[in-house]
């Protein structure tokens, strides 16, 4: 009996280590950082991401486009209207019949409501508006929408996370589910939890989106990165947010 028990617990251990991360073991990238990087994020006067948040606030109140409308003209004060919004994105968009991330939602609002041109991915203004909106959810738990329409997209995102790809033939899960307690050269691998986007990355010397980070990882495994705005990137983002469900939003996070 003892022998069987040992085999069963050994099998359970194997499946736990090679599977998704249990809720109580989920860790933000923050917890892997050196104390001085943590301090940079914690203090709003030293967190460089706050510069984008401030610019985003100005953009929120600025009338633009043929409609000459500001975000605030429809949504009012972001403190109330945008609270918790980033925590449940990407969300399903009825007109496109697929999920959109926060950046895409902002651009849909610009083109349809404000009648202004869409902002480029990773442009200062798009990052600023996204950071400002996501900042309104800081401290709130990531709460993915339980929208049945999202399910097929979520399933595709999960499949992408598990799929080996690139010349190095690695899946996201090989590192971020199975080896997040280890180091790639000197760097902590982390769990890849998307808790603080857009975030200020010291390596970038600027703010960047989750899409940018995912594209960087894909290039790292020598895969052909999905283009900005590609449905596959949004599906991956959707899976990552559901995987991080319950973790607090940190935007704007600081990372090495």
């Amino acid at each position: 009996m003892r022998g069987i028990g040992a085999i069963v617990s050994a099998l359970l251990l194997v499946s736990a280590s090679a599977g998704e991360i249990p809720q109580q073991q989920r860790r933000s990238g923050y917890s892997f950082m050196a104390p001085d990087t943590k301090a940079m994020q914690d203090d709003d006067t030293s967190n460089p991401g706050m510069l984008w948040v401030l610019d985003g606030e100005a953009l929120w109140n600025k009338p633009i486009g043929t409609a000459n409308k500001a975000c605030a003209d429809c949504h009012g004060g972001a403190k109330a209207s945008m609270k918790g919004v980033a925590a449940r994105y990407p969300a399903f968009d009825k007109s496109l019949a697929r999920p959109v991330d926060l950046e895409q939602r902002i651009n849909l609002c610009r083109t349809a409501q404000q009648q202004a041109p869409a902002l480029d991915y990773e442009s200062h203004d798009l990052l600023a508006l996204t950071a400002f909106i996501a900042h309104q959810s800081r401290g709130m738990p990531i709460a993915p929408a339980s929208d049945p329409q999202l399910e097929p997209f979520l399933a595709r995102g999960r499949a992408l996370f598990m799929q080996r790809q690139g010349q190095l033939n690695l899946a996201c899960a090989n590192c971020h589910d199975d080896n997040w307690d280890k180091h790639l050269a000197g760097s902590a691998i982390t769990q890849g939890q998307p808790t603080g986007y857009p975030m200020y990355r010291l390596e970038w010397q600027t703010l960047g989106s989750l899409s940018r980070r995912l594209r960087g990882c894909m290039t790292g495994i020598r895969a052909q990165a999905f283009s900005y705005g590609a449905p596959e990137l949004v599906e991956l983002e959707l899976y990552l947010m559901s995987r991080a469900g319950g973790m607090p939003v940190e935007t704007p996070a600081v990372r090495p």
């Binding site: 690139g166 190095l168 033939n169 180091h183 790639l184 020598r222």
Partner: protein, 151 residues
């Protein structure tokens, strides 16, 4: 200028990129797996161990991203995979060669990339398509170096 070129030459120039890609895709040296190793050198020659050491320490070869080893001059080494110290005791040259060429033949769920394999890969980036991670010469140099790592 172009009009003076022979039509067949023009055709050859037009086809060159496609032919080049095919040639690259078929550029892998043939090898034979026997048991859990590849006994014969991919190049027919012994590798250069000193060059192999330099390759192992070069991040572009990717070895030290995951492995550590007896490399006191390298500050950051990975801990995803076994320390390479003593690799020459643990494995024969033949076994080392197969582990570099295609470790997935020994363990289908290994995270070690197959350094000399082109098929069965998904969404390979444009700059890396149809090329093995390491050339036959590089693999032989690294094998020669790893064989010297004896406790």
């Amino acid at each position: 200028m172009a009009s003076r070129l022979h039509p067949l030459l023009l055709l050859a120039i037009a086809l060159a990129p496609a032919l080049g890609a095919t040639a690259k895709a078929e550029a892998l040296a043939p090898f034979t797996v026997i048991g859990d190793g590849i006994p014969d050198s991919l190049t027919g020659k012994a590798g250069d161990a000193a060059h192999g050491r330099a390759l192992v320490l070069d991040r572009a070869s990717t070895c030290i991203l995951c492995h550590s080893g007896p490399f006191p001059e390298i500050r950051f080494q990975g801990d995803l995979a076994p320390n390479l110290a003593g690799a020459g005791n643990r494995w024969s040259v033949s076994q080392l060669r197969l582990r570099l060429v295609d470790a997935s033949r020994l363990n289908p769920v290994t995270i070690m990339p197959s350094y000399y394999r082109l098929e069965g890969l998904v969404r390979v980036g444009q700059g890396w398509r149809d090329k093995p991670i390491l050339s036959a010469e590089q693999i032989e140099d690294i094998v020669a170096y790893l064989a010297t790592l004896r406790d």
